[in-house]
């Protein structure tokens, strides 16, 4: 079987992603008065990120038009795979024996 290459950007459920220029990035950071690490994150290995070619350190603008009130804009900061492990806290066993409450 031959694998057909599919461009996921063509899928109607994939919202519009664009890489911001440095200028635009600074503008956003200034607008919300934050540093880049306060933004929501996205992995460099994310399928869409790979396709549009964003690199770790970029800021991506996502325009979703399927929200009930029309267009909604979102910004995400691209991080490399290596930075990821720090975020996946191995805290699974540290959420100690919290059994579902029985009332």
């Amino acid at each position: 079987m031959t694998k057909k290459k599919i461009n996921i950007l063509d899928n109607e459920f994939v919202p519009e992603h664009t890489i911001l220029t440095e200028e635009e990035s600074n503008e956003i950071l200034q607008k919300f008065n934050v540093t880049f690490d306060r933004l929501p994150l996205i992995l460099e290995t994310d399928p869409v990120v790979k396709i549009i070619g964003a690199k770790s350190g970029d800021i991506i603008k996502i325009v979703r038009s399927d929200s009930p009130a029309g267009k909604s804009v979102f910004y995400r900061y691209v991080i490399g795979e290596d930075t990821k492990q720090g975020l996946e806290e191995d805290s699974v066993d540290e959420i100690i024996d919290e059994e579902p409450g029985e009332e």
Partner: protein, 881 residues
């Protein structure tokens, strides 16, 4: 008023050093006993009087203070041999792994160390914080051979909960706590930050205990039972065990006992110290009381729902609150809550006496604590708090001056918060105005039941009384019931009519409902509409006949114009709108109800009810409340005149109808048998993706569902609007037509897990049937109706289906409760900032615009800024007139 005794500036966490423990200790505990035969505390025992006082009247031998003032003092136990602190065992393991067994240095070479230290210096943000760097460094070191002294590579094995082994090649050597402690001691201070230890407050070797603190007796008070038998706290029991074993261990060591015995005792000491900290450590059998009850030790005191954090720190019992059963009162406003008089005289509001209310306050104080709008305490200008009694009330009133604070009793119009658990959404706590009433229950308007999810089968609710003027006004402005008519979740009313209000509205406004002037006057009088909305002069002409619509429109805003389909709408193929011949299209113009019947579609709670929605959104919460209050009162007085009842004859169907239903069911049965024959004969075609059995089952299910629907359809033809049960179902008051057809025609298929019933016996559901019988009757199809009554097998099948429903609801509530808790914990400190972005407590952005669209459903028109349709409609209506 309230004095803050101490202000906590900061909290520093660290590990207690043995020296610290000895320093804070007032006594080395050496005796395992508590009291002697005379009931006197034994010197140097666990109940030594230097450890604090728990008996009123005695004085502390350390600080000289009385019971209640003395906070208690720590003692200590010198352990004969060190033991691992279970709480630190995992950290000890991590450190042992990454540290050289000989030189104690972290097994990283100079360049690697430098990299990690550099990272630590600059570590601040959330992508690279200290914990992660330390973890990386330690993981890396664990894999290395010591680059400093090149000692051979031996791996450390950790056996939960507190045993360590060293392994090399085939050999294996147990590390005693002494060995462990030695290795930790060897670690140079410079390495501390790379293994995640704060050198200011901790040393790694302190994770192995040599001295054990003994908590003050005030932490573990003994209780005296009625029979004057002393019962000790669990912690004391545990400490007794520790001291006893410690003693034996020391004696054996001193006597030069064999290694084996010493090791056994050492292990036992380790066990007792472990369970003293945490009695639910996995891999350790829990220590038990003599009675077999599992002891509650330190960790158990703190963790879980009944632990110190969740039950005493995050949640507390509060003053100025009340709880009792709720019962309905349709004659109070939705904004009000009926408070029993005996509750009102207990709850107080502090009110400052000013020149403007001096006389009023004097009057209240003169009433004393026992006559209702009275007062219980007065705080004078010198800060003295005085109780008002029947004897002192007149003197106190005389003395009353500007600046005094009177703790007056709750009275009509006070703002209180009213709450019903589970508090799942913000509407579970709303502000009400107090209305003091006789008897012992909180009274609640029926329209506010939906947001609280309250009914009156014994529900209890809580009431809280805000104590400051700011809190009260804030609650009144943003938490008032009328401000919450529109749900923030879906932007439609959650507060509104239900049950009898809906069917009553239908009975009142349906075509042909007419009332004499007397009746109308009476209804208006009963519902307080007379003279506020309608003058007496409207009834001068006594022979005038009022239609229900005429009565209803009295309550509408004078310039309201709306049109909508009523709930009873038959959904004809071609809608005639205003010319609907069934009177199911409501037309309100300029506050006149021209056409249509008022029912669930107009003002039913928790539904998209057009009329109430328009009134609240178009005229404001005040108007909405007034409409609801008056319309409900009017409707109940009307429904009491008209009457609404239901009985078995409401689902009676004439003989001819029953025959048709029987025929439908008989046909379905035959079709099922045909399918089964086809299956047995191998003629059944397989459906894609299903086995032959699945195909058969699906066909039978479809056939039977169709039969039930058809039977229901036939029944429906005979169930006209003359029957009150039908009125209730069609108007949306209670029940639906499916319920009625189940009563009148046929119950239909019972299922468990979406399948026809098949389990119970071998290849059959009940022994009344043949094995492998797939017919409708044998697999839980109930062809009887509730009215007819069920056959024994049908009854059993029905209860099987019913049981599944019960189990499902029980499981669902437990699961959703837990999910809710986790969700709330995850979202609790998100907030919307000034720039409308949503952020968490460390300023991370969660959403750039609240809800990604910045819309508050309860303050917008169905998610849009303006409701264009309605504005157009209103303007058109205005122009036409």
């Amino acid at each position: 008023m309230f004095k803050v005794p101490k202000v906590i500036d900061k909290i520093q966490f660290g590990i207690l050093s043995p020296e610290d423990i000895r320093k804070m200790s007032v006594l080395r505990v050496i005796t395992a006993d508590t009291y002697d035969d005379d009931g006197y505390p034994i010197e140097k025992g666990l109940m030594d009087q230097r450890l604090g006082v728990i008996d009123p009247g005695l004085k502390c031998k350390t600080c000289g203070q009385k019971f209640g003032d003395c906070p208690g003092h720590f003692g200590h136990i010198e352990l004969a041999r060190p033991v691992i602190h279970v709480g630190h065992a995992k950290d000890v393991y991590k450190i042992l792994k990454s540290v050289c067994r000989d030189c104690g240095k972290l097994k990283l070479d100079a360049s690697q160390r430098e990299i990690f230290q550099g990272q630590l210096l600059s570590a601040t943000d959330r992508l690279k914080n200290r914990e992660i760097i330390v973890k990386e460094a330690m993981d890396k070191a664990a894999k290395n051979v010591c680059p400093w002294c090149g000692s051979d590579k031996r791996s450390i094995k950790f056996e939960k909960p507190y045993t360590f082994y060293e392994e090399w090649g085939e050999e294996r050597n147990k590390l005693t706590p002494i060995d462990v402690r030695e290795r930790l001691e060897k670690i140079p201070v410079e390495e501390y930050e790379l293994i995640g230890v704060n050198k200011e407050v901790s040393k790694p070797e302190w994770m192995v205990l040599t001295v054990l603190p003994v908590p003050p007796v005030t932490v573990r008070p003994s209780i005296t039972l009625e029979s004057s038998v002393r019962s000790e706290d669990d912690l004391t029991h545990k400490l007794v065990d520790i001291i006893r074993i410690n003693q034996r261990l020391r004696e054996n060591i001193d006597a030069g006992a064999p290694q084996l015995i010493v090791e056994d005792l050492w292990e036992l000491l380790q066990y007792h110290v472990t369970t003293y900290f945490n009695n639910s450590t996995s891999g350790v059998p829990p220590a038990r009381h003599r009675s077999g009850r599992i002891l509650k030790t330190i960790s158990q005191r703190l963790s879980g729902k009944e632990g110190r954090f969740r039950s005493n720190l995050s949640g507390k019992r509060v003053d100025f609150s009340a709880r009792t059963v709720v019962s309905p009162d349709p004659y109070i406003s939705i904004n009000e809550v009926g408070v029993p008089d005996f509750v009102a005289s207990e709850l107080t509001v502090p009110e400052r006496v000013t020149a403007y209310n001096l006389e009023e306050m004097k009057k209240i104080v003169r009433n004393g604590p026992n006559k209702h709008p009275g007062a219980n305490y007065v705080i004078r200008n010198d800060g003295k708090r005085k109780k008002i009694t029947d004897i002192t009330k007149d003197d106190v009133a005389e003395e009353l001056d500007i600046g005094f604070i009177v703790e007056r009793q709750l009275r009509d119009g006070d703002i209180v918060l009213f709450n019903r658990q589970p508090s799942l959404h913000r509407l579970s706590i709303m502000a009400h105005e107090v209305k003091v009433m006789p008897y012992k229950t909180f009274r609640l308007n029926l329209c506010v039941c939906p947001p609280y999810n309250a009914d009156f089968d014994g529900d209890e609710m809580n009431l809280h009384l805000p104590q400051t003027e700011e809190a009260r006004s804030e609650a009144g402005i943003i938490m008032k019931v009328q401000e919450n008519i529109i749900s923030p979740r879906y932007g439609e009313p959650v507060i509104g009519g239900m049950q009898d209000y809906i069917s009553g509205a239908y009975l009142m406004t349906r075509e042909g409902a007419e009332f004499s002037a007397e009746e109308v006057e009476e209804c208006f009088y009963e519902s307080d509409v007379l003279s506020t909305k309608v003058g007496v002069e409207a009834f001068q002409e006594r022979s005038k006949i009022w239609t229900g619509k005429n009565m209803f429109e009295v309550l509408l805003p004078k310039d309201l114009s709306v049109e909508f389909r009523s709930k009873t709408c038959k959904k004809c193929e071609k809608c005639e709108f205003a010319n609907c011949k069934y009177d199911n299209y409501v037309v309100i113009k300029e506050g006149k109800l021209l056409k249509g019947v008022i029912d669930g579609a107009a003002f039913k709670a928790r539904s998209s009810c057009k009329l109430l929605d328009k009134i609240v959104k178009g005229y404001g919460a005040d108007e909405g409340r007034e409409f609801l209050d008056s319309v409900t009162k009017l409707i109940i007085s009307v429904i009491m005149k008209v009457g609404l009842t239901t009985g078995i004859d409401d689902v009676d169907i004439p003989e001819e109808g029953l025959e048709r239903i029987d025929e439908i069911l008989e046909n379905a049965h035959n079709k099922v048998m045909e399918n089964i024959e086809a299956y047995k004969g191998g003629e059944l075609e397989k459906q894609p993706g299903q086995t032959l059995e699945d195909t058969l089952e699906n066909r039978i299910m479809a056939e039977l569902a169709k039969a039930r629907d058809n039977a229901g359809g036939v029944a429906e033809q005979y169930l006209g609007m003359k029957r009150h049960a039908v009125i209730m179902a069609k108007t949306g008051a209670k029940g639906n037509m499916l319920d009625l057809t189940q009563m009148a025609a046929c119950l239909g298929q019972m299922t468990v897990r979406g399948k026809r019933l098949h389990r119970g016996y071998q290849d059959r559901s009940l022994p009344h049937f043949k094995r492998g019988d797939r017919s409708a009757k044998a697999r839980g199809f109930v062809s009887s109706s509730y009215r007819e009554g069920l056959s024994p097998t049908e009854f059993f099948f029905h209860s099987m289906g019913g049981r599944e429903g019960l189990v499902d609801t029980a499981v669902r509530t437990a699961q959703s409760g837990y999910m809710q808790r986790r969700l709330i914990n995850a979202l609790q400190d998100l907030k919307v900032e000034k720039d409308r972005s949503v952020r968490d407590n460390s300023n991370n952005i969660i959403q750039f615009e609240y809800g990604e669209d910045g819309v508050d459903l309860s303050r917008s028109a169905y998610g849009e800024a303006v409701d264009i349709d309605w504005i157009v409609h209103k303007t058109l209506a205005l122009r036409k007139s």
